[in-house]
Amino acid sequence: METLETIENNVSILANHYRKYLHTISRFKNSLIQALESSGKLMQIHLWRSSSSPRAEMGIIASLTADIRTRVQHVSCYYALQFLHMNFRHLDILALGITSGTALTDVYRQFIMNVGRDFRTLTKAYLETLLDIYLPASNREDFIICSVGTRADQDDIDLGIITADGAEDEDMNRALQKITQHMLVYATPLHLHLSEHVGKQLYTTTIPEYTQLFEKQIQDFVIISELLNATKIIGGDALFERFQEEVIARFFYHPSRDIKYHEGFLRGILGDARALLVSPLGTDTISPKDDAIRIIKSIITAKKAIHGVQQVNAWEIIDALKQKEPHLASEYEQLFRATSFLEMFKFLLQLFIAQEETFRLDEVDKNQLALIAQKMGYKPIGTISAWDQLIIDYYRHVGEVRKLCDFLLEDATQHLSSVSLFVKMLRAAGPLEAGGGPKASLAQELIQTARFFTGVRYWEDVLNLLQSDTHLLNTFIDGFEKLEEETKADVIRAYMTWAQHSPITIMRLITIMGKKQENVIGDTVSRLMSLAFLQELEQLPYITERLCKIYSHYPQFIHEFLQILSEPHYEYLYRILARPVIDERFEQYQVQLKDLCEIHQWSSRYFLRFFSRVISHHPEHLNSLTSSSQLSEIAAGLLAMVDVLPGHTEKKRVLGDYYDLEFLRIGIGSMRGADLGTTNREFTEFCDNYMRKLFDVCSEEVGQESTAVLPSTDTFAIFAAGGHAREQAYDDDYDLIAIVDTEDRELIGYATRIITRMNREILKRGLLPHYRLGEILGGFVSPLSQIIDYLSSDDEESFIDLSQLLGARMIVGSSIMKSIFNEKILDRFVFSDKAFYINGMIHEIHGRQNVVEQCATESCNLKETRGGLRDIEAVALMLKAYLGIYAPLSQDFFPEISNRVPEVADELDVLNRSMYYLRTIRDLYRITVAVEDSILPDYLERVAPIFRESGRTQWGSSEQIMEQVQSTLRDSTGACDRVIDFLQSQIQQ
């Protein structure tokens, strides 16, 4: 038959599941046509075109025969035909709309509304006809069938069926059982979520069943969302009105009603919206429903409940909200348009690809994708396909929706906060009464009140209040602490049941309390809760994914939580993070989160200080922790940005961020076993970049405040001294020497102002700028003439300063200034009388050796012990003086001079290796334990894993490290002594 062929052709472009309808048509059409012909009613029925009165035509078809099975088959065949006609008709109208010049989003919305309306009409007709077949109207009790889902969705039909109180509804349930079967086989499956969760009957529920259920607990917010969007499609108005008044109305906000229902629903639905918002988007899949539509629906349903909006269709709700909240009109307008696009796209994906919610783009038929793009009015532009444009628009809309809904979620939180029982309870809490008292148990009262709200997940307003009100937080914590031990344990357990539903809530509560109790020693309630929480967490299903999801959206929050954990707590997290994640979207976050835990667990407070500063300013950097090159790129960008920023304050802030980020990057590198040479080189490079740029910014700032001419770098130089001069990483102070080659007091004054401003910034980085020479000479900036006078004096201290000058490295200054420095300081006071300097240094070393402690097994000072870093540096300075080397002491100093003093080449090799090993231990100790030169074997347990994981297993235990340190110091002592002997013999000649 030609018309059937047409339908088959049309269906051939649709997704595979539409073949079900062809299957039904081909099975029963002949029988149906025959029956219609026999009864002479064929002309009354629209088989091959759309009908405007499907209910009436189904009634005619159902009356053709008495056999129930045949009646159902005939009606189902007709339904299948009409269902396909309806879709094709609307696709034709869509094509017309696309060419009409009307805004596309309006065309989409109209399409979805019309398809929804017609689909509802058709399914209503089918349901009514089947109901008539199985349960004639005369045998029915009062009942209503409500639609509780999206009208246009053809994958399932969400229904709620309510019967009168105490009605004997066995017949109705039996009829519905049959209808459900037929819907599955011939039409769209019914989904009866409400009946599955409410009441005793299989398909129907009664009003008392709902009210009894909600009296006990707020329950499943999905049920409530469905109820709020219920529309009666079959049944009596009076029962539906009663249902609305007795069951649904309680969830709308009304000042005179018991607020707990409204509050409970909001906490449930906002928690759901937040959970969706924190879900990362798939990289190779799209899901309009999960990516955006569900978020929109959750937010607008929450707003609907807040404002008493009665509409049930998404666009109508948004329109009504625009009236209720005119200040958010533009946000709602954007949401309105995005909803149109997303619903249209989802509908066509299901129509042409598959009846699924998630689509893997790599496996979808590309012709079908092109078809969808074409149906939505997209055309190729040059080399950009219509589909590519569509998918770009998709992500743009999803991004917009998420941003808008994040904002609207905050807005809804304000309402929640203003009506909440919990907020009222907390605000009413006065100061903790002496010796406890009723208010001492605020934590207990809170958890007891929360019982009705079991399962809801949104508590941000309550937590915000606790966090922002120090007085309240103190009352909460003090009261908690004062509970009897047994009661306290019970209350903590009660909070853990809360954690099962909303780990993020308890995590945040613990973080708020933990920060407050950070400096309290012992088993504080926050520490007890942390432990209980982690133990609970380990038992929760899919917790790895859930943690990764939280981390993906709130990395800073997780970072703050980790900050309050104790070291043993991390084992729980590692076990959780070691579990396989099923959803591939979370794999990258799993790696990042594990890295973050390791940084927190293994970092010294010194390192964490930088880490926390970076994360608090730029939480987004957490996502780059696993990639050194990415961090490096960000840092380079920050440094470049300093030049283009207009204000000095802003420039200094960004420059500080640059320093912190680079410090963090290199520190992470060290923790992952980076080579010492790389660490020192990169560390020195960024420190120098920082200082030079800081000098420029501060000079510019001082210059703008004055009309005077500033000192140029031909007359003003800044030298790094100490560790920074020797390219040594992780010093916690910054030895600096600022020198001017002028006597002009005004110029010296300006130079001092520059240095003062630089100091302020350096201090913000947690580094102490030291100006040893400046302090002696009476100012941060030292005139060259004063330095010369001082070095020429008999002051015993001047030898130390001379050593500092010999080891100094110029970081700001011109080549002219460098020549002046070399000539007037190094040539004159060191190189012209090497023997004086070398003898002085030998005297210094011997003098110190009498007072320093030997390296012991229980503790060892890597710097001051004989053969330690200070001795090695002293020997290096003597050699520098002996050889007349102007260049600063780089980390390659010993290998570089080895061929110039072949007599001690072996010793220099030993010193080089010793310096390398001792500095490596020093660096790692600083990053993982503390900024100390004395190392304690117990704490080397934090260093050893870095050696193990970087393949240097010979130092993979604290004992091995300690043994190696001692042997290194012995070797180094011998080498130092031999070099000193050599130098002494040389200068005596």
Binding site: A15, N16, H17, R19, K20, H23, R174, Q177, K178, T180, Q181, L184, V185, P189, H191, H193, E196, H197, L202, D220, F221, V222, I223, D272, A275, F352, I353, A354, Q355, E356, T358, F359, R360, E363, V364, D365, Q368, G455, H501, P541, Y542, E545, R546, P580, I582, D583
Partner: protein
């Protein structure tokens, strides 16, 4: 006496269990002319990451559409195996994915713990077809639906252009049980 066969498909969101439920139900109801019901996790349970779908197949009327005495449980994660094994009837069957179920449940039932996801990845080249591999195993072990019906239902449910790869995965699942 009519027969009633209850299947519970459980695991995590994204593992395609709802689709398998729909395929089984449609294979039975549309192509095998049996009665079937299919339900799925919805609401807060699904929000926690879990996914569950139930199918009941009968040659008579299904008067109670909720699974109470499970004949066959598919557990694609450890959590699912731990949670639902206790509801499998004596002499029932548990099909588990050994890639994710490291401690298979023990009890008065037959356990087929096999590397379902690994097979999907290695043989089909797509991890995402693990659900169809599992379907092949279920088909073979349950014996309540015909192969032709299942293949018809697969064709009618999967995205266009992916029919063959999904049927191939289904067949690998059948082979796993042989």
């Amino acid at each position: 006496m009519s027969f009633r066969y209850e299947i519970r498909l459980s695991g995590a969101g994204g593992q395609g269990l709802i689709l398998v439920g729909k395929i089984i139900a449609e294979a039975a109801a549309i192509y095998d002319d049996k009665n079937a019901t299919q339900s799925q996790s919805y609401g807060p349970e699904a929000r926690g990451g879990a996914s569950r779908s139930e199918v009941i197949i009968s040659d008579g009327d299904i008067d109670y559409p909720k699974a109470t005495d499970i004949d066959l449980l598919l557990a694609m994660t450890q959590e699912a195996a731990d949670k639902y094994a206790g509801e499998v009837k004596s002499g029932g069957i548990i099909v588990a994915d050994s890639d994710f179920v490291k401690s298979p449940p023990e009890g008065d039932f037959a356990v087929h713990c096999l590397p379902i996801t690994q097979i999907a990845e290695e043989k089909v080249g797509k991890k995402i077809t693990a659900n169809l591999v599992a379907l092949g195993m279920i088909h073979k072990l349950s014996g309540v639906i015909s192969e032709e019906s299942v293949i018809n239902a697969i064709r009618a449910r999967v995205p266009r252009g992916t029919e063959e790869v999904n049927i191939q995965a289904f067949k690998y699942g059948q082979d796993l049980v042989d």
